[in-house]
Amino acid sequence: MSALEFRCRHQFRSGFELDVQFSVAAGVTALYGPSGSGKSTCLNLIAGVIRPQTGRIALGELLLSDAVSRVCLSPERREVGVVFQEHRLFPHLTVAENLRFGQRRQTRPPIDFKKLIEILELGELLTRYPRQLSGGQQQRVALGRGILRNPRLLLMDEPLSALDQQLKQRILSYLERALAEWQIPTLFVSHDQADVRRLAQQVVVLEAGRVVTSGSLQSTLDRAVTVAMQSHPGPLNFLRVDDLRMVEGHCEGTIGGHRLRLPAAFAAAPAPVYVQFLPSDVTLSRAHIDGLSVRNQWPGTVREVVRMADRLFVAVDVGLPLWAEVTPESADELALAAEVPVICLVKTAALELVC
């Protein structure tokens, strides 16, 4: 049974119309799309901040809102937890009081407070006030507050977008640990491909108030990205690196079964390690090339060739999907089309570490 069934149509006075239908299963689902596509509106509809004109929203057996039977639960009875983009901690309460605010008022079995403090490393902050915390600490408290409500569904509205890259990666790993511990179904709004790829198992892609596509992450996002993200940098390669080790003075890891040579700096990075690189950093060849400075050469098969404005992207299946950007001339020259075998060459220096 899915955690959330969402079907809503809502016309705003500004003229924007949302007409969206999707469901959320266990695990993390991302609501992905450019800004103004209606992601946050969906979240507000689920949280009960906006009342939908038509449609039905149900959380398991709990009916949140239904236009036909005129049900619309007030926000406090919805059993969802919300982590907002701008933390929204209560300034007159301490961190501990903020954390306990939702827990005191919930009717579901309580989350272990001590365990949460330990996982999110909040122990030293408990007696402080929100304004005495850094941005990352504030967001961690907000996350804890949402989880302590033990919601049937955790909603997160771009919880990372106000943070700088380094901080974001740290919060992401806290988030991963917390979600792994409590297994709360989560709906996560983001316009950042890398965050979505890292956190989510399912994705719903929105554009202009409509669902473009939805499903499990890899295929959906890759296809959707090409449609929805008509802007630079186009699709982004974002991959998890396993089995990191030093070999003869350089660093190596594996990605989807392929050995990968990495900049030496990677060895010191804490697990899990992710790399990202642009499609333009991937070179395609029809044959294996010897005597080349590029160390990372992965054989694969072309899945599809996508034209985006005046640019050309090639999705290659090398055991996992990889995007390459080519010029129209070279695409002609290599006769790139679906099912054509190719070799992907990725320069080690182009790999950007994300951890």
Partner: protein
Amino acid sequence: MADWTFTAEDWSAIGLSVKVSLTAVIVSLPVGMAVAWMLARKKFRGKWLVETLINLPLVLPPVVTGYLLLVALGRRGLLGRWLDHYLGLQLVFDWKGAAVASAVMAFPLMVRAMRLAFSAVDPRLEQAARTLGAGPWDTFFRITLPLARNGVIAGAILAFARALGEFGATIMIAGDTPGETRTVPLAIYDLLNSPNADAHVWRLLLASIAIAASTMAAGEYLQRRGAEDSAAS
């Protein structure tokens, strides 16, 4: 050298003033908070009318306000009859009438300060509280009111100080009975009309200045302490 000791009548006037003003503030506080909150948070039809009515006592001559209250609350007035019949309350020519007059006159000031305070509370915090399981009342008392605390205190203090000085509307509805409805301003007015009472007048003048000043100082102190609380490390 003038005699600076208060007479029994002076004490009665001072006590009455404090009693009337305190009653006025305590009775109008919940109403004032509710109205201020509605004006700050809600959009509704006829909002301009509510605002105009509340602010009317600020611009009407107090005597006119007093007369209107007298008409409404008098024995033949609609409200007066109802209060008498159901609650056995007779407000006219009674200290309770003086409290009503003070409350009405002070109400716009109270609401203005509280409304500003409620408007300054970020409604997104209230939303967050709701999503965390707090109902509307819970949210008001745990989030909105504590965050608007200083403004609410300021509103109450201001109303108290304004009530202390109430004269025109009070004399219309409550009259000027010594020991019953003669508050400090009325007592001063009476003394000014009697011969050789200069020293006596000064005593009462200083007393009313002292009460008003200590009220404002107390308000200032409470607000400053509130500010320190929220800045505490």
